[in-house]
């Protein structure tokens, strides 16, 4: 899965499901989604559920914070890390902590 594919899937979900009634025509890769007030705490529940089901990953509560979920860039990086972890598990090796 390419960087662009991940970002576009997340961008589309956010635009269609989560935005807080804000008329934001485009979400740039660096648009602050949480700090900027585009996604609230309830919206985060939907977003995380989407990420888990769409990318077949699973988050632990401590893994989600405003520093890794505030922009599309950060979300993409987080997803990429989770996908790598999954691949690592599938290959039978334990991922490094952190």
């Amino acid at each position: 899965m390419t960087t662009m594919e991940i970002k576009n899937a997340v961008r589309q979900f956010i635009t269609q499901n989560v935005l807080l009634g804000v008329h934001q025509t485009t979400i740039e890769d660096s648009t602050p989604l949480v700090i900027g007030g585009l996604i609230d705490s309830i919206g985060m529940i939907g977003l995380v559920a989407f990420l888990e089901s769409h990318f077949h990953v699973e988050f632990a509560p401590r893994e989600i914070n405003v520093h890794n979920m505030n922009t599309l860039d950060q979300i993409e990086e987080l997803i990429r890390k989770k996908l790598a972890e999954r691949k690592s598990y599938a290959a039978g090796s334990k991922p490094q902590a952190g």
Binding site: I35, I39, D40, I42, R62, I64, V66
Partner: protein, 332 residues
């Protein structure tokens, strides 16, 4: 293990103060706390509180209220002092002039529970009830002699720190919950889940200023760090506790949530997917946010109103200082 909430009770001081008067008196502190926020966030901070008055300790201090609540709960459950094997005090703000050690020791003497194991935990704020229940369950599961536990909290806002804007305004109260193992009366505990995020410990901190305790709220941290994951973490715990009992959200009959603000209760309502007005009314307008006693107050009110029927599912949820999130599931 079969552990039930045999009884619960609360006590509030008779003196009260209008929330508007509190915010006026603490205006400088409120303005300083809200200064880092945007104009919109500042405006939101004082809107939708849903709190009119708070009760304020005067002649009766938190310990007196704890004793009153504990005595009421014991009478309701038909339990004598010597029946209590564990007393756990989970007060967050027991009062500047209270004894430094846990209320549990003095309480064991005053209730004639001389053989009880007396413990205290100071963690969790509004989320502490779940920590207390889980701790008691741990003791019960590892010590055959601990069959009846009394959990108490008694809290009063430090002088001049009644406002916790942008979150809430605090009222004083105490509450008591009695858990019994292998009993037949009261809701059966099905599960308790809790989590903490230590990196958010400064969101609400207790500091000493000019020799007095003061609650410092980091409004920017609350807004930018806590709130984005606030309901998410609560939702995670709800899912976890339900999954462990093979239950789903739509099977819950009563959601018992804290009285932080109407705005917060609205967020919780959306989180669990209830329709508008789906959460039961609580005495929050009259009592304010009473720390971890909120859940007990709301539970007692539901029971008094006869709304809890045998077999119904109760889900208690709250979050607080630490930062701490907790959920308890029980079947009436």
């Amino acid at each position: 293990m079969n552990v039930r909430i045999a009884s619960a009770a609360y006590a509030v001081p008779s003196d009260g103060e209008a929330v508007a008067a509190v915010l006026d008196r603490e205006r400088d502190r409120v303005e300083a706390t809200l200064a880092p926020l945007s104009p919109t966030a500042k405006q939101k901070a004082t809107e939708g509180l849903g709190l009119s008055r708070v009760r304020v300790c005067g002649a009766k201090q938190p310990y007196d209220l704890v004793l009153e609540a504990a005595s009421t709960a014991m009478a309701e459950a038909g339990i004598r002092g010597q029946d209590i094997n564990l007393i756990l005090d989970y007060s967050t703000f027991p009062g500047e002039n209270s004894q430094y050690f846990s209320f549990a020791h003095k309480l064991s003497t005053d209730l004639r529970a001389e053989t009880s194991l007396n413990l205290g935990l100071k963690s969790g704020g509004c989320g502490a009830l779940h920590l207390a229940i889980k701790t008691a369950l741990g003791w019960m599961s590892t010590d055959e002699n601990i069959r009846t536990a009394l959990l108490v909290t008694g809290d009063t806002a430090p002088q001049g720190s009644r406002s916790l804007l942008p979150i809430t305004v605090q009222g004083d109260a105490a509450s008591a919950v009695i858990l019994t193992r292998d009993g037949t009366e009261g809701p059966l505990l099905l599960g308790v889940e809790a989590m903490t995020l230590g990196h958010l410990h400064d969101a609400i901190a207790l500091v000493k200023t000019n020799g007095h305790l003061e609650i410092k709220v980091d409004a920017a941290c609350i807004e930018n760090e806590v709130m984005p994951v606030y309901y998410l973490n609560l939702f995670w715990l709800v899912k976890k506790v339900l999954a462990a009992s093979c239950l789903s959200l739509n099977e819950i009959d009563h959601f018992i949530y804290s009285n932080i603000s109407q705005r917060d209760r609205e967020g919780f309502r959306r989180m669990v997917g209830l329709p508008k007005g789906g959460l039961p009314a609580t005495p929050m307008a009259e009592y304010g946010h009473t720390f971890a006693s909120d859940l007990v107050i709301n539970y007692v009110h539901l029971r008094r109103e006869g709304q809890i029927r045998p077999g119904q599912l109760l889900l208690f949820a709250s979050a607080g200082i630490g930062f701490t999130w907790g959920v308890t599931l029980a079947r009436a």
